[in-house]
Amino acid sequence: MDDALVRVGRALRAVVLVVLALLFLIPFYLLVRNGLSSERDITSPEWTFFPTELRWGNVRELFDDPSVPFARSLLNSALIAVATTLGTLLLASLAGYGLARIPYRHANKVFYGILGTLLVPAAVTFVPTFVLVSSLGWVSTLRGLIVPTLFSAFACFVFRQYFLGFPRELEDAAQVDGLGYWRTYWLVVVPNARPVFAAVGTIVFLGAWNSFLWPLVIGQDQNAWTVQVALSSFTTAQVVRLHELFIAAGASILPLLVVFLCFQRWIVAGVERSGID
């Protein structure tokens, strides 16, 4: 009796999971379906699962459309995401290591000063930060898009926690060999801390690629649009060309899906860390 019940429960769970998985995949399917359809197929009142013809030409049309700086926006996003990731990793890991390992009288005060900024998320300070950045003359520049986002208190915190748990023996050995803090850090600590770099790096990369509010505020000139801002401007435009819109959206998440699937292990590790702080 109990066994049968357990089996029914198990089967039910499998069915629910499969249904939910299909629901979760629908948006991706719609993206591909509409992106490769003709305008007529998308807006046809007779909805079909597969479009009547697959139009790969949509991709070319998108990149040839002179009214839409899409290629430029992809390039901007790539530059910003890579620069933000590398910059954040460098700055936050150094700071995290210093806080964790170098004894200093005021280290705690500095740490709480950094931690305190987590209480005031960047999204709430975008107005004042915009004021600052615009008075530096950085509006519509890559500098303005990248530099203010480089100082992630969250990343610094994750690095500090990680380095606190890092085995001291390695560093002690390095000190015996006469290496100072700087060379110990680069020659001993960094090569042995790859997992945390990968975890933080992928999370920062995803965040930078997908971020919207700051690029919207700063990227006022078309040449400084990121791919998210470009997509948003098509969505909210007067005339919407649906097939171009969907293929553009598809093109914007393709690089991410690749990163996501290749680095999933590290992303999961990063997410787990992000929940614990």
Binding site: L17, A21, I102, R105, V127, T235, A249
Partner: protein, 299 residues
């Protein structure tokens, strides 16, 4: 020696701390300053107005309305996301076949931006015209198409807004819950089985959920803070060439249009930012205290 250490400390921490000070503390203080001035289109105003911006902000129905919108949004999104991500984690954790596949599928939307998700929701699933997927499905049952985003009675737009975020975030929080589940000591379950507790509701209620307490606290905190910062999906779902509709304006959308829209009233916008920053700091600290974060035995 001590001096040298202090020097090295600042070599490591200095660049980060300086940048953080410049791009977080300076704007914050500057903005506190601006909030006491009449600052239209200028960042170096001279017209001191005292607390006028604050009283104007708090008296402005649109601002207090945006706080109500946030409360309503939170009331929908927090419990729904919490329940779905916990349910997904519990099911994925127990499933024997294709566990990695299910985990990936539910987590995959986290790679999407709110812009892309909003685009799919607005232009395809909840498109107000007949070819939208939701309306197509309704059509099979003979129901008339619904203008999802522009109907305010009943407010169907909430369905659209909440489901976007649910789809994007559920997998993220599922990962957190899965991590929490894997930290539960299997001995507890064995002991429960010895005591005759049948797997299912009793075990969930008396072992799994209490053991997930720390994770749950973190998830609720993150959900509330993220809901407070909602901007992307509201903006991309609701604004069009004519602007943003008068309803469903969360705080950041309101702030965006006040401070950076026509008129660029930076004084008023700064006052709004200061009020919001205070609210979020109080909410975060209060919630952490109330839920006794840190006493729950997790790292």
């Amino acid at each position: 020696m001590r001096r040298r250490r202090a020097l090295w400390f600042w070599v490591f921490v200095g660049p980060f701390a300086a940048g953080l000070a410049l791009f977080t503390y300076v704007p914050l203080l500057w903005s506190v300053g601006l909030s006491f001035f009449d600052a239209h289109n200028t960042v170096t105003p001279t017209d001191f107005v005292g607390l006028d911006n604050y009283t104007a902000m708090l008296k402005d129905g649109a601002f207090t309305g945006s706080l109500r919108t946030f409360l309503l949004f939170t009331a929908f999104i927090v419990p729904v996301t919490f329940a779905l991500s916990l349910a997904l984690a519990l099911m994925v954790n127990r499933v024997r076949r294709a566990q990695a596949f299910f985990r990936s599928v539910f987590f995959l939307p986290a790679a999407c931006s709110y812009v892309v998700a909003a685009l799919i929701w607005k232009m395809s699933i909840f498109n107000g015209v007949r070819f939208g997927l939701a309306n197509t499905v309704l059509g099979w049952f003979g129901t008339d198409p619904v203008a999802w985003l522009s109907t305010t009675h009943p407010p169907w737009y909430w369905l659209v807004i909440v489901t976007v975020r649910l789809w994007l975030q559920a997998g993220f929080y599922m990962i957190l819950f899965l991590a929490g589940l894997q930290r539960i000591d299997p001995v507890l379950y064995e002991a429960a089985a010895v005591d005759g507790a049948r797997p299912g509701w009793t075990v969930l209620r008396h072992i799994t959920l209490p053991q997930l307490r720390a994770t749950s606290v973190a998830v609720v905190l993150l959900l509330v803070i993220n809901a407070f910062q909602a901007f992307d999906e509201f903006y991309n779902l609701l604004s069009d060439a004519r602007g943003y509709p008068p309803y469903a304006r969360p705080p950041l959308v309101y702030l965006y249009y006040t401070a950076l829209g026509q008129g660029q009233n930076l004084g008023l916008g700064s006052a709004g930012a200061v009020i919001l920053a205070l609210i979020i700091a109080i909410v975060t600290v209060g919630q952490a205290r109330w839920l006794k974060l840190g006493k729950s035995g997790e790292e």
